[in-house]
Symmetry: C2
Subunit: 363 residues, 2 copies
């Protein structure tokens, strides 16, 4: 068939270092499984570009991405030169919202070869298989808004209003998606993150909607947990979690904490999906641009590579080839994590390129 | 002098089980250090009372608490009969707000004898002393509001607005308080929790205010961290944290997660302070009413007892007796944690009463 059109956006910092490895593995897997890809590199949506143009993306960014099936995204943000709320709202968050990527899927799994920071109540190290969760994050609304403002600035009366906004359409579709995911998994368990005891308008509403949707999924067991105790349980009882559904902010928090509980956020991938396929979906590592380690080519590219695997799976869903390519990449990641080489974050001394090569060879 | 007036509010669930032990130790310490206390037990601010009266507190609750110096509080909430947002907004959150308890102080320390769920990068168990943080939480505004509402309910267009509100007065005083705390500690380090890359109005404002206040505290080192990566670092590098200052919601999350990183939230105390002393302050365990274990007298009362210690310290600040009483209680807690007896959450089979007795004896 026609090649899938993929826009490649390295972005900032280590995004530029891990992207070549993501592409290396993507190309290897596509070749092996006969998936035709047309890749196009984009240099905007980066703070370098902002420095020159005074904006994160060109005015015709949508037109330029016309016909794209997916965006492979590195990381964006360089706070030393551009404030985060400008760089992120001008790129990543714009994609999520304007391309209606309303599902952010974030798996967190403990792998053989990755030291886990957690032990169980008996002091035994957690074993691979004990932590295997999927965070389903609402990705377009909720707490992330630029609605509101400051009043009486500079006076004693100064105050700020920040709006969170939830729509029934937006909340219901992510809840349904999460129930569907839970239904397809072995344990069929869903945790709904909330904070209805403190956030008095939106969260009781969210709870009621979750209870309503749950009626359609009697085969899924559900528990509702306040975000505070939920974070505590990620640490104390991570084996309890299967699928976790959360608002934008709570999903953001849980999808850094979950991977941290598996040893590092350097491995965590994410899929920003528009399941309707009216717009391109976006695949990116959970880690950011990491200014502190940029420039030494030591960043772990596995999150980027795993994100590329999620891209192949999503793009060719139904065909089989994408799922096979995804699984082959995952097996290669598992093998390299188990046997090395490793980047410094995992105690090795291999560089970013070496890891990409090792995984590509196995694919 | 005149006795300090203390209102004792057991509340719901295990609040009713741990309170007698909190009082036992409070009385023992007050007797030993010559602190005169007048205690008065209150049965409202509980779901039992709600069941009978249809409200959480009597209309004249403020008048009834007139002249009180402090409230010793167990836990409130019994979701099987009263929704959390009703029970909490009708009691605890009302106290915090109407008594302007704008600081919520929540220490988290790793103790000898409490198994820690975390190991370091070398797989070594974390040692007492490695985790010793103080979370300073804004306690009256921010994300916890009942401003907003639902529109177009029951239709496709249904949406909800939830307001967060921050005032300069409210934010500045908690930031200053946190800097003061940091300045008095050995490491003089302050972490400011934020999410200015996603929450686009309030959080950049909060960051700017923190930077402004920081100018007055050149001896304190400051780092600003987004809440997502901050929760990850609690797990991966807890030794990095000293004082952490956060908004109401972020402080809520971090003050469950921090204690979880020290093995259990069953030990974590909290002080809801009105530092101006215009209104009574409130001292309570971080854990809730725990319906799942209520009725068996197995709850760990240490968080309640430690909260009582914070009460003595705050009440008699300046006098010395309160600080001495606080320290004596802390040493007794340390000894019992090290040598037993232990409640089931710490692997023992002692009941709630036994722990209270053991600590009171040592005091
Ligand atoms: C019960 C709840 C409203 C409360 C809060 O969120 O403040 C509790 O979690 C706490 O931390 O004291
Ligand atoms: C960079 C930031 C805006 C973003 C978010 O909060 O969504 C990131 O943390 C993520 O999780 O993708």
């Amino acid at each position: 068939g026609l090649p899938y059109q993929i826009a490649v956006i390295p972005g900032d910092g280590i995004g530029k270092e891990v992207m070549p490895e993501g592409l290396r593995v993507l190309r290897a897997a596509a070749a092996r499984f006969g998936i035709a890809l047309a890749l196009r590199e984009i240099e905007w949506a980066s703070c370098d570009w902002y420095q020159v143009h005074g904006e994160m993306m060109p005015a015709d960014w949508k037109a330029q991405l016309q016909g794209c099936d997916a965006l492979l995204f590195g990381a964006v943000g360089w706070p030393a030169t551009v404030p985060d709320h400008i760089s992120l709202w001008g790129s990543l968050l714009k994609f999520r919202r304007e391309f209606d990527q309303y599902i952010n899927l974030r798996p967190a799994r403990l792998f053989d070869g990755v030291p886990c920071p957690l032990v169980d109540r008996q002091g035994r190290p957690r074993q691979p298989g004990e932590i295997d969760m999927l965070i389903v994050r609402e990705n377009t609304e909720g707490e992330y808004t630029n609605l509101g403002g400051v009043m009486f600035a500079g006076t004693e009366r100064e105050f700020v209003i920040q709006e969170s906004v939830y729509t029934r359409i937006g909340a219901e579709r992510v809840l349904r998606y999460a129930f569907e995911q839970a239904r397809q998994r072995r344990r069929r368990h869903l945790t709904v993150a909330t904070k209805s005891n403190g956030i008095a308008i939106s969260m009781p509403w969210w709870d009621a909607l979750a209870a309503e949707v749950a009626l359609d999924y009697p085969e899924v067991t559900v528990d509702r947990q306040h975000i505070d105790i939920l974070t505590a349980r990620f640490v104390l009882q991570p084996e309890r979690f299967d699928v976790v559904v959360a608002t934008n902010l709570f999903g953001d928090i849980l999808s850094d904490l979950g991977p941290a509980c598996t040893g590092t956020i350097g491995l965590a991938p994410s899929a920003n999906l528009n399941p309707d396929r009216r717009f391109p979906s976006l695949f990116e590592p959970v880690h950011g641009s990491a200014p502190d380690i940029y420039g030494r080519n030591i960043a772990n590219p596995i999150a980027m590579i795993w994100s590329a695997a999620l891209l192949l799976d999503f793009l060719t869903r139904g065909e089989g080839a994408g799922r096979a390519a995804h699984d082959a990449i995952l097996r290669a990641i598992e093998a390299v994590l188990r046997e090395g080489p490793h980047t410094p974050d995992l105690g090795g001394d291999a560089d970013t390129t070496r890891i990409g090569q090792a995984i590509a060879e196995r694919v």
